[in-house]
Subunit: 381 residues, 3 copies
């Protein structure tokens, strides 16, 4: 049975004088370097799910531009984010992408300096203290860390702003979904030839949906799109499902029992972009998220995860539903990547000065302003 | 029966004080960037043969440094050169190298803005005019275009110089060959690790022929070389065939009936370099041309085409002749690429300041001067 | 039977205020370019073994950053180091990595200019002297060359310092080994992703040995390490073998009869780093050396050679010994490359400002000072 979706946001005129960013913001190595310094080395950003390192000693490496971070659960079960750099002579401590530090210590492979899981230097063979060497001052460098609903965020800045000042809009949001209890049911890594910002932009407008996503448009019509949050780093909105007890799946029906409560939430797909590197998509029955990792001005990896309730993941009869959700989004993702990559190529032309935003893309201008503000650039360009 | 070739241009002394370009002109990324701006984005250059897009809707993509151009035949059968960039947000419109726009429109894959084949914006879904958006001002950007004897030339500059001011020497030249009636019989793409200018230089002297091209030297002795045109972008000359009714083929005989008329032309191979990217080689019986595409200071593609009369191409008994011409030039090309690539490597040495030009290479100095003039550099270096 | 090794150099305190180089010295393209100009294009450096080009006409190419050098034995049996660049227009003369110039001349493949093996221009077809072209001034450019104990060193500088002023510490050293009589028994090329200086540093301290090289530590304990020479470019030391008539082999026994004389030498492995590109390791029974070739700030090739007496190489019963030496060092090499590559990665972190040197790594500070002196940089960084 089909339910009427609410019609919203149709045919806005374009905002006077508002234009897209100039093409150089997607191509210039200098701007990319500036973004590294002023955004990726300075902002709170998504790191991993807490469930990925469940036990003391479990670790996962995270690459942020040139910085490798060891996300590790220490003996007291606290998650730490250590810079993957020995304090002796700078050697990368850990080369394996993930695993468990069996000895409950982190030992440098070169000269065997050994650190506790909380980062404290425990032993430096044959080193005498004094003459400028003080053991207590040689703990591993740590990044600030904050956990929200099972999502681990870190900040590499030496003096990070409080989490709430950047991510305030998240606090208390989506409580009903009990996202900290969800678990990863599936993961796909995409390697894309485009700038990281094009993925955020693509996620924040459905003007492209009728042509690019015929199936998605059937599930959630473009006219139902509505923005509900725009506070600094967090920009969010939702779309209405046409079908009752529907979801974003190949067959159109829910992939699992509901994980939220209210009637409105049960009929909506939320799209929250958590600047700069997380796209969060709560469904009535599961949660999808994308983790964007820039590798250069025109190259990213995009890791897409499907979160379900643990009992659903374990239930053999629920696997078809999970697969249908995975297939739906894998299809939709690939449709998006194609146009994002073509936009990357086209915007390199010297003839592309600055494009237009339709009324359906007004929120992209806010995203642009967030980037310019972080870089300290004038909107005029 | 062998006919005596005319002996010309033997043992010129080197011109006093004339030396080659310094090595940086073949290696420096800065000079390559300057060449892009001042030569490839500003000059008339070869784009394609008109026959490659014979019918309305037929298109072929052309890459000029960072610019992708859609060469397309519109509904009125006029060839257009559109920048491959949507006016909405800069997306590359077309990703396939060649094909036919079936709907006789060019539609952006991202938000479905749709253009007529002549570039006019026909529809932009949900966009209201006003507030800075005027549909008529959003046609595709176009490059200037000129057709000469079936060869399509374009110029990306916003205010291009007249075709004749750069290519005047071509106008009326080679009329007898009826080159617009010829068709592509064969095409080979070569990927080369050398600067684009080394290919032009290689083409403009036969000082290297005795050692590099033993077979070519048998057909057209180096002492017969003579220059007949040197007007700006067009530098040309010819060599005499030793054999009557001969041509540049493996067996030495003509590959097809003559396509030119006068006795002299029937005994000559013309070598015209059409700066910056076309090498044109009319034979008595067919026409060869090379299309050079720079990909970096030390990388090009070189597309070599063999043009014959259409009735020859269709004639089964003529295929052996075509093959013999293809084989001859493929062999000769490969001999040239080898030494051009070795010159690229050697000139990177800091010890290579500036080389010498023999009397047989005097025309290369004119080519250098053409480059320096375009760049606004002093010959002194 | 095991012999007691001498205990030396234990638990030195770190030198006050001494810290490692900042990370940029391993990563910055600008510093790499500076090193090219001020070290690799200016210093004496190892080129090849004289035995590699035994007869007139034999040659081997050597790449030093952007310069290709032809190492060739001329008609009078003198070894020459020619820049691989034709004086006509800069073409690379020779593309094959090694071989023999059969005609006893070096001929340019492009226009056939022909040089004697000693570099003199013999013929330039069709070139008339005068107008700025003087044949005698067109010999191949040559690098300075010095042979020491069968090791050929060259210097690309136009005004090279005397060999002895840089390599004085080598003169007369290791005479007993008669290294000029030794021959290459084995060669392994390693491609490594690290800065060239990390390999020198790795070679000059055994602080890492207990953890990284368990087998090497068994043969030569870390506490036996002692430095005996530190004169400019030459920094050397030795370690004691625990086993009498032992050597660095898998089985621990000598691989061949002794090639040195005195009792002390028979019980020692010498480690000499000959800045900037040779690591020389005389054993009692063979000589190992590494030839380091930088390919970028974070890329090198490292060619490792095993030298034995010619009669040993020819002796079928001696092959097992040679293999055991090869296997031992191949194992040890790979252990080192792993940590050097991890140090390369880790030092890229902006958090790695400057590391510490333990008392066992004091000699690395001298190596750093040698680099800074050559670059004209202040130790403060």
């Amino acid at each position: 049975m089909e339910k009427k979706f609410k019609k919203r946001g149709v045919d806005y005129p374009i905002v006077d004088g508002v234009r897209t960013l100039p093409g150089k913001y997607y191509h210039s190595p200098e701007i990319y370097e500036e973004e590294s310094q002023k955004i990726f080395y300075k902002s709170w950003q998504f790191a991993c799910r807490a469930e990925e390192i469940p036990s003391p000693g479990d670790y996962k490496l995270l690459q942020i531009i040139d910085e490798s971070i060891i996300l590790v659960r220490d003996k007291s079960s606290t998650i730490r984010a250590h810079f993957n750099v020995c304090r002796h002579r700078g050697t990368q401590l850990c080369a394996e992408h993930s695993g468990n530090f069996k000895a409950k210590t982190i030992q440098c492979p070169y000269h065997a300096w050994t650190y506790a899981l909380d980062g404290k230097l425990m032993s430096a063979p044959l080193m005498q203290e004094g003459h400028g060497f003080v053991k207590e001052e040689c703990s591993l460098y740590q990044a600030a860390l904050h956990e929200w609903e099972g999502f681990v965020f870190i900040n590499l800045d030496r003096n990070p702003v409080p989490f709430e000042s950047q991510m305030g809009a998240l606090v208390g949001r989506f409580k009903d979904w009990k996202m900290d209890e969800l678990r990863i049911a599936h993961h796909i890594r995409y390697e894309l030839n485009c700038n990281w910002k094009l993925i955020l932009q693509n996620y924040q407008e459905c003007y492209h949906c009728p042509g690019v996503h015929p199936l998605l448009t059937k599930r959630t019509p473009v006219q139902s799109a509505q923005h509900d949050v725009s506070e600094g780093a967090v920009i969010g909105g939702f779309m209405d499902l046409t079908q009752e007890r529907g979801s974003m799946t190949m067959h159109g029906e829910a992939a699992a029992p509901p994980i939220c409560k209210t009637g409105e939430d049960l009929q909506r797909i939320y799209y929250y972009s958590v600047f700069p590197n997380l796209l969060l998509t709560p469904h009535p029955d599961f949660v999808l998220y994308h983790h964007i990792t820039p590798l250069g001005p025109d190259k990213i990896t995009n890791d897409c995860y499907w979160l379900f309730r643990p009992e659903v993941i374990k239930d053999p009869t629920a696997q078809a539903g999970i697969s249908s959700a995975v297939e739906f989004w894998d299809l939709t993702n690939r449709q998006d990547w194609q146009v994002c990559e073509q936009m990357q190529i086209g915007t390199k032309s010297a003839r592309f000065d600055r494009g237009y935003y339709s009324g359906r893309e007004d929120i992209l201008h806010q995203l642009d302003m967030e980037v310019l503000k972080a870089l300290g650039h004038t909107p005029g360009g």
